[in-house]
Amino acid sequence: MAFSLGEYQDIFLEEADEQLQELNQNLLELEKKPDDIDIINNIFRAAHSLKSSAAFVGLNDLSDLAHKMENLLQGIRDRTMQVSPAVVDVLFNCFDVISSVIDTVGAGKNPDQDLSEIIERIKEISEGASAPQARPAKAAREAGDIPKTALSAAQMRQVKEGLEGGMSCCEVIVFVDPSAQMKWIKAQLVQANLEKIASIVSIAPPLETLQADNQTDVFKVVILTAASVEDVRRACEVDQITRIDLKKISLSRKDDKTVLKFHEKETLFNEEYGQEDASTALYHSEGDTDEDDDEEESEDYKIETIRKRGDKKAGAIKIVKVSVDKLDLLLNNVGELVIANSGFFRLYEEMRKANLDKSLTNEFKNRMDQMSRIAKDLQGGIMKTRMVPVGQVFTRFNRLVRDLAKEFGKMVALQIRGEETELDKKVIDAIGEPLMHLIRNAIDHGLETAEERRKIGKPDTATVTLNAYQSGNQIFVEVSDDGRGLNAGRIKKKALEKGLASPEMLANMDNEEIYSFIYHPGFSTTDVVTDVSGRGVGMNVVKEIVSELNGNVSIETEPGMGTRFLLSFPLTLAIIPAIMVKVRHELYAIPLSDVIETIKISFADITTIEGHEVINLRGEILSLLRLNEFVGIESGVDEDRKMPVVVVGYGNRKIGLIVDHLEGKQEIVIKSLEQNYATVEGLSGASILGDGSICLILDIASMINRVISEQDRLSRAQRQRVVERKAAGVEEVKEIPVLSRSAAEPASMTASPAPQAKEAARREEPVKSAPPEVGPVKEDIVFERRGAAPEAKPAPGPEARPAKPAGDDAAIEEKVRDVLRSFKDELKESIKTTVEGGRPDGHIKKSLGITEEDMERVQVLANVGITNAAESLSKILGKQIDLSIPVVELLPVEKVPETFGEVDNVYIGVYMPLVGDIKGTILFGLAEQAGFELIDMLYGIESGRTRELDEDGESALKEVTNIIGSSVINVISEKTTIAIKPAVPTIVHDFMQSILDSILVLHNISNDYVLVMDTEFYYQNDRVIGKLMVLPETESLKKIVDRLK
């Protein structure tokens, strides 16, 4: 069963948390200004209320602790005690213990923390400090402190070595009778005695100090000894020593740091109370004696502080805590009020029509307007109540910075700015952890030690800055330090070690990308893992939490100058600014955070690539989605008007939403659709507007995903159509000779293959099995091919007709028919698998060791490269050039020509061999007529003038190919870091088959399959200019694929 403190538990926890924060905050200030009585009073008051409320809910131990704390503070307030580091430390410790108790209770568990240790320490401190109570303040200053045991590095080493050598180490605290004269003599005696049985590591305060000041009556000796505790006691027990405490010290390893661990103190001797462990008794009696006075005083005191607080600006804000649920409920009610109010408006219209007393209706309207205004203010006000100033999170870190700075021996100042910036309560609640990680990282890794800083001319004290500000509809929270900055080199090294990236990848990354490795789980560049940071968990958590809140993290760093982490969050999670758009009469909201810009386009701006609409937005292809189609209604605007487009982005994708009207910006409250219905695709929720009507909120992420999948589907369909068309084309080629044959020999056979078909078959066969050194055979094929072509299509070409095979022997014919039939079946099968199964190249990928992911990467490469090429082309021509999405596929060698164009048409092929580390060819192929047109265009002469390919034309086409080819090469070269150089382009003006043959002949293609990246360029009017194909050799292809990994 969960532990509970009853009905007041929540209130107590809330209050205690606040009081602790206040205590921490004030104590930090007190540390800086030890004499500020206001601060002391504040601490005192908070401790006192903590005591009362803990007692009220029955946490007596806690109340007890608070009471001891109060006593200590009482001493400070009375100036009988000094605010020494030891006192501050013990107080901070108290706060920590209290905080842990409160957390345990908050988690529903019974707090089982042992408070006796901390109570002991308070007692020790107050005893040590308040012993000289009667003395003047000045004297108390030196006397007050029991110096905290701080060992130098050398002493630490000594202790460590001693312990490792089997000695035991302990700290002996010796209390000298305050009335004793020449106390330092006692100390010296103790020292001398101890020296006989142990080696003394340190003695604090040093004897000299003791000698100079007779007020000090406590001193501590750290010794290394092989002797027993009893021996130590005897050694210390000299005249006028009232009490001897001993703390065993052992070394504990906290990760890689050696830490001294002080064990429980045991009192070896106490004059007053005998040798029994009397400390508790002592403590109790002390506690009891001044309790009563104490209560009384604090009552008076309360009044005083309240008045004081009232004067203070920061503390004056009175706060009522309300749960967010209640606020939401209230918000709903106000919404209702607004709606009810709109009913009055209708009533008013009725009244006006009814010709009632004019002054009465006017009065009615005035009141109505007033009410509506109030209702709206109320609505806005309640919305704003979710916003909380970020300062309350920021100030918590003062303590963390102080502790960490101490721990790491660095001097750090925390600067807080923009604490009044307001953030949504949800963000406030969640932001603490990421900030903590960032600050810890900054102090542990980011900042140098004072010495290091001095060496490089920085001020000793490093600064960590927390800043918050609003800009646009985003809130930015910044954690920056002036330390050494992120070390990109080390991050790279670590990324390599962890196998997160290859050297090539790293070489191509900009700094921003390299820094983002630190978000990777388990990534830490420090060699030393401390308990604070270096485990590589922190940054990952930061990223995750921030993303959960729809926020973002970015890093700015300057080596030697510091690092800045910038977290950005949407202004509020409940109320978001949105752009309202209309399709017909339906109103939709698009969250402003998803909106990049709004533009207006006319219908003519839209081009269609592979079945989906795009526009060219400043040189970038932007896919369009018609909102009316998405929501399934007719658009209300005619297409000759300019259409508003909202450009929205999610991740790194963006699309343009065509809407009917833009209705402006509005703040909306998100309501879920799931609560009473379900998730609806494309909608992230609904919002109730001021007039009570519902407006649906578009889910941009899902819309973009839908567009992407739609595009994929369309592209696939388009490709399938191409494949089908080609398949049909192949059949056609086959059938034509049959027909001509049957015309010549009417009776003989109906579907029998003709000699031409045989040739065709022969053509296919050798190419399919073409080994690299197929050169001469190919020429043969080309030759025959040319002969076959004119019959199928009367395209102009060289008149090199071969003699047709003469007499057809029936047996041969039969054989041919068989071969052809099986070939046809095979072809059909292959076409079928191509059409149905998508990719027939699966097996070949396997044999080349190319995976689907590799293909995707090549696809990306092709996309970038070819877009680049299209841009160059469009620049040369001064025209908008559209392009089809590059098709990247592994093709059987013999399929390459037909993929690329009409096999039997004459093309102008400009090919540019690739030399350097990648071998292959880039081919720019233009249908003859298109080539002529392009030449006209390039020379700026009237279209249709060029009729044949002359030298000028050739050089123009070569130049164009050079430019677009290079833009592709550049991209490939850049992304793969492989040096690729283009050779001089060559022109072949011939049938597509011949063009391709002359290229294939050049290359080492060790498989029957080649990888092609193939795209088509269009003018805006959809007229095809030409196609570009990149065809790497097998070895080079492997190289590219490897580099892309």
């Binding site: 339906e586 998405f630 929501v631 399934g632 309501k671 879920s672 379900a678 998730t679 609904a686 649906l696």
Partner: protein, 180 residues
């Protein structure tokens, strides 16, 4: 099998049957109140315990990319609730909105759902024994919507099971994705 085992078995079966009948199962003599409405001369009824309220035809915001029978969503005092066109849901011809058109807001599976009906006819009271299990008598609407048939002064009232009014039994996961 001894007698004990047998009794246990009988008990189990009875428990299972009554659980199947759902929360609207009533004992023989208990008086049930049914809010009824007429669609094409058939009287349908909803147990009054499931009825949240009955409102006049409000302004409905169409919900794109959802099933046809989802007329849209309405604002019910700050809550966004879906409205099911009961005619379309039952596979009847769609009707027209008149002065009598009402939205019966019902609670089903912790969700509030509005049912758009041609009219609200009356509230009838009948003892539990007057309610028979669904039979083949009722043509047209799918039996996943029917809890039983009530007899009251010579009339029959089809008592509705609202569990599947938003999503069909076959929808499994309760999302609207399936309706694209």
């Amino acid at each position: 099998m001894n007698i004990n085992e047998l009794t246990q078995m009988v008990n189990r079966v009875t428990a299972a049957t009554s659980a199947e009948a759902g929360d609207t199962a009533v004992s023989e003599n208990e008086i049930v109140q049914i809010v009824s409405f007429m669609l094409d001369d058939v009287e349908y009824g909803i147990n009054i315990l499931q009825v949240h309220e009955i409102i006049r035809m409000p302004e409905i915001t169409r919900l794109p990319n959802t099933a046809e029978y989802i007329r849209g969503v309405i604002n019910l005092r700050g809550s966004v609730i879906p409205v099911v066109d009961v005619r379309l849901r039952f596979g009847l011809a769609s009707g027209s909105v008149t002065d009598l058109t009402r939205v019966i807001v019902v609670e089903t599976g912790e969700k509030l759902v509005g049912l758009l009906v041609d009219n609200v006819y009356q509230v009838v009271r009948m003892p539990g024994r007057n309610i028979d299990p669904p039979s083949d008598l009722i043509e047209g609407i799918s039996d996943e919507f029917i809890n039983g048939i009530g007899r009251v002064s010579g009339r029959l009232v089809v008592i509705l099971n609202l569990d599947y009014i938003l999503f069909s039994r076959s929808d499994g996961e309760k999302t609207a994705y399936g309706y694209m």
